[in-house]
Point group: none
Chain length 410, copies 2
């Protein structure tokens, strides 16, 4: 049997979201309700009760990996997510082009969300090298001011702080080791040197001269953060003996999936934003599940983005778009041979506008799921659900329904 895991990022909400209802309650979702009617519902703490999840740690836990044990930091999901080749011992970073003055005082953390010239900036930074011999730098831009960087060499450490102060008007933060290991001290020194050198390389580039003439903040420094090595984990295939593909658009989710050995497939035209044609993810997932893969992971981001922007109407509209995706699955999946889980990776309420630890509704449906009596899908209705309240482990539970787990004991 096949398995389909669908995650709507930041799906969960609170009664304060929209006129006394959560966005899921306020949205018109006949197809999610049909999924609930067919299946069994409950509450998911993606990591555990009282733990406030990041998207990366939440996904690890949903895939059955304990983030307390395996999480190394965000950087590696960024480098993997934008398609860089990450090797053992590599230190990965998220980067952003930013704007500083001559005294390294931060003026704009995103260089005015620079839209153009990524190719020129990337090319210029190929000359970025530390004075320390034997250490290689790999850099790649992604969207707008974003990019990722790999330090490759012997005896490097990811136990260092960030260069990004996360606010303007202050100096770029000096990176420091967080342990007393020599490797951490050495890596911190290298990163501080690279940040300074990036300013030397970038400040005189034609694109920045042009931006300054136009009164726009120049992309005159590269800030590094989220230092991390690749998590030392068995792949999903090694662990569960199944082949899976990941269909997502955001680099982070692609990165997590790749770190766990899933093959990434891009659906046509998707952007990771609320206007993304997510129906194409459903079409691709159905095609994949008709092929050789055992399971497919589909990720949709818009719910979380709208909630971060305190945009209840946007989140409701995106949930209704997800409902169309669910309709496509209801109409086109082989329901005799497929078990499905639909949930969020965490709750992002409208008023607070960031992740919270409140559990998120979940539904399992398929031929092997014992249905409960819940026939609506939202934070309130699933309180009566048959799944109860569970912590992470959604992929193994789903593979269990599809008879794809190895036995523990005899």
């Amino acid at each position: 049997m096949k398995s389909l895991l669908i995650i709507a990022d930041g799906l969960g909400g609170r009664p304060t979201d929209y006129k006394g209802k959560t966005c899921l309650e306020a949205a018109n979702t006949p197809n999610l309700d049909e999924l609930a009617r067919r299946g069994s519902t409950g509450l998911l703490d993606s990591i555990g009760p009282g733990v406030r999840p990041g998207s990366d740690t939440a996904h690890l836990s949903i895939f059955g990996y304990d983030p307390e044990k395996v999480y190394t930091g965000r950087g590696v999901f960024e480098t993997l997510g934008i398609g860089m080749d990450v090797r053992e011992g590599d230190i990965s970073f998220r980067t952003n082009f930013a704007t500083v003055d001559e005294n390294f005082i931060l003026r704009d953390r995103r260089a005015g969300r620079i839209q153009e010239g990524q190719e020129e900036l990337e090319k210029a930074l190929q000359g970025l090298k530390p004075s320390q011999p034997g250490v290689e730098v790999l850099f790649k831009t992604s969207t707008e001011h974003r990019g990722a960087l790999i330090l490759r060499g012997a005896e490097l450490s990811d136990h260092i702080t960030d260069a990004d102060p996360h606010k303007t008007g202050v100096k770029v933060t000096e990176v420091k080791p967080t342990t007393t290991e020599n490797s951490a001290e050495k890596t911190a020194e290298i990163v501080n040197e690279l940040v300074k050198k990036s300013h030397e390389i970038l400040k005189g580039l034609p694109i920045n001269k042009e931006r300054e003439r136009e009164g726009k903040p120049p992309a005159n420094i590269l800030l590094l953060r989220g230092a991390s090595m690749k998590p030392d984990v068995p792949s999903i295939e090694e662990r569960y003996g199944v082949k899976g593909v990941a269909i997502a658009a955001g680099a982070l989710y692609i990165g997590v999936a790749r770190a766990l050995g899933l093959e990434f497939k891009r659906a046509e035209g998707v952007t990771g934003r609320a206007d993304s044609p997510i129906i194409n993810k459903a079409k691709l997932a159905v095609r994949e599940l008709k092929g050789e893969v055992d399971f497919t992971f589909v990720h949709m981001k818009g719910t979380d983005s709208c909630a971060h922007d305190h945009d209840a109407e946007g989140k409701i509209a995106f949930i209704e778009k997800i409902d169309e995706v669910i309709k496509y699955f209801l109409d086109n999946l082989d329901w005799d041979e497929t078990n499905v889980a639909f949930t969020g990776d965490h709750t992002t309420p409208i008023v607070y506008g960031d992740h919270v630890s409140d559990p998120v509704p979940i539904v399992f449906a398929g031929p092997n799921v014992v249905p409960d009596e819940v026939d609506e899908f939202n934070e309130r209705s699933v309180l009566r659900g048959g799944i109860g309240r569970i912590s992470g482990q959604i992929l193994p539970i789903l593979l269990g329904y599809s008879n794809r787990l190895k036995k523990f004991g005899t």
Copy 2:
């Protein structure tokens, strides 16, 4: 947002408590029911299913600390609870004045629950010193026969047994090391010496001569038990970034709260007994929550004490007194800005008269809690509740509702 955690000690009960009902079911609790109607209910295993909790371990777990990892023993909560200054490396003990004959056979474990002379006894024991150089003894009485003692010096260990045999007619127990460390052997020797010396010091005191003349058991020995160092844990403020106060009367609860860095505040006239004016705790809590603290912990003891005494009617009456406290909170809290949890630290059924592992009902209420359909608060009604069954972690869950948790991951 603010958070209020209310614990009624030993709240949970069994159908055998009172005419086929638990005490919570038998009690008239319109305000607890209103809290349930507004909020979401469920079952709490304070440590975990099938674990029979002490009050100290249960509270640690409710505050989000794993007692399997951090619990060192009871003594330190007693020394902290009665206001002694506990330093790193100190070994804390609970003590009781007891009565022995000339052969150290225990005649009364509590010296007839001695009511008078605590000052004289405490003063006399300031002369208690081991022959071992460099080890200091600090002793303080609390109520009746109770007190606490600190051993301070280099290379002491809390890995030793108790001097109290917990029954009369037998010799005072020789304290033994429970590990092979030298420090444990040395500490056991010191404690044995101190117990003997306490008899020498106490037996001839005027107060004991007077008691003997009156036919009362003299307080002629000090028994030490519950050896423990301060748990090596980050404070609640370090861990969660919030400032909290504790409002309690029993030394143990004050001690646990202080061990976790909470500031203790005494409500007017409270005693820790069933006749305590607990409404004053509610008034103080509301005042505190209007000030600068992020959260307040309120503890009420009477439910547990009555259950230990097999007194169903007493427990029911105390629950109805708690219901008045809840009414005060319903009327006086800022409910737009406060999330509340109410539960017990464990179940203490009337027939058995001691803590059991049965889960205890819990309710969360506040602006960010998705309400369930339960509108009564007792062991039976919450089985249909939306919180499900959770293990410990009540403070972090509550702080999560109040948007006060740090994110794990990005």
